[in-house]
């Protein structure tokens, strides 16, 4: 029970801090900020566990009764849930093309949309431009004169994806 309690408690603590920061000002690098928030909590909590559990006990929380194996268990649970949340967050941060299609059809309601009107509604949202600026923000692409060029970080990321697709024997398309 302790593992589930502490893992969930730490995750919600991170979520509340994330919410407060977002209500004050939405960061430019949202994914990076989320990683910083959630991993800082883990580091601070580990510090408390190692050195300041007596003070926590005064607040009515029993933290020093956790064994090493329980700590590892909480660590695995917390990391998994945090990474899943950060992956899910990308759906909130940016609109995927499929999401845009569904939203346009939801807005149209029971009358639906014919091909012309659907494409007209979709093309009014500059998805390609949005993705390019996202790549620039993430440091994967830089703009030199008029051209966009992938950075070392972008090439490394791409190579991992290509290598993995080769491992699966998947076609080298995508996108």
């Amino acid at each position: 029970m302790k593992v589930l309690f502490w893992g969930t408690f730490l995750f919600f603590l991170g979520f509340i801090i994330h919410l407060i920061i977002w209500k004050i000002r939405i960061p430019k690098k949202q994914t990076q900020t989320l990683l910083e928030i959630f991993f800082s909590i883990l580091i601070v909590w580990t510090f408390i566990l190692l050195g300041a559990s007596e003070y926590v006990r005064l607040l009515g929380l029993q933290i020093n009764s956790l064994g090493f194996l329980e700590y590892i268990h909480i660590f695995i649970f917390y990391i998994a849930v945090t990474l899943a949340y950060i992956s899910f967050y990308s759906l909130i941060e940016i609109d995927s093309p499929s999401f845009r299609i569904i939203i346009e059809l939801l807005n149209a309601g029971s009358s639906g949309l014919d091909e012309r009107n659907l494409y007209h509604a979709l093309s009014s949202k500059p998805i390609l431009e949005s993705r390019i600026s996202q790549l620039v923000k993430d440091g994967m692409v830089i703009k030199k004169d008029e051209n966009y060029i992938p950075t070392g970080k972008g090439i490394k990321f791409l190579k991992v994806i290509i290598l993995y697709r080769k491992l699966m024997k998947a076609s080298q398309r995508g996108g």
Binding site: M1, V3, L4, L69, H73, I76, F77, A80, V81, L83, A84, S87, F88, S90, L91, I92, D95, P97, S98, F99, R100, I101, I102, I103, L105, G112, L113, D114, E115, L118, Y119, L122, K125, P126, I127, L128, E129, R131, I132, Q134, L135, M140, V141, K144, E146, N147, Y148, P150, G154, I155, L158, I161, I162, Y164, L167, M168, K169, A170, G174, G175
Partner: protein
Amino acid sequence: MLLQEYVHIFNPVIGLVINVSLQILIMRLVLPNEVVRSFLISFVLGFLTVLSIELYVYFTKAIPAGDFLSVFITNTLTYVALGYCYSSFLGFGESSIRTRILRELHDSERGLSEKELAERYNTKNMFENRIKRLIDNRQLILQNGKFYIKSSFLATIAKAIVMLKLFLLGKRSEFD
């Protein structure tokens, strides 16, 4: 006994290893280029591994039912979260626009301008592919020349995402 405890704690990670290994094997040997189906099959098989280890530990260690249930919930949630992360990783190679842009830029010698990228990456084709995929998955229907949403589950998920966007970002779309 200690080994058994470690196996119990790392059970979701073992499940993920099974999920990933089987997914690669299924794609290479049984379902070529079927990323989604191979993932779903291997995800279920990985979960069955997690479940088997949980039951083995429950019966061999004779732990109280309450403790077993809480660890089982923890490990199941961890496994589902890890599986979701893996599916997102697969999505980067399968349908991510950013990966496609990076590939186009990497393949060109001197990089590409926004206009050149738009010529190579036809957004109309991109939407056509997505619509075809949604129709194939029976999530959309084309009736009398008009598109409609067929899956109420998908509509609910999309509405939930819009609510979350409003709650966290204060807008319904990145383009608002």
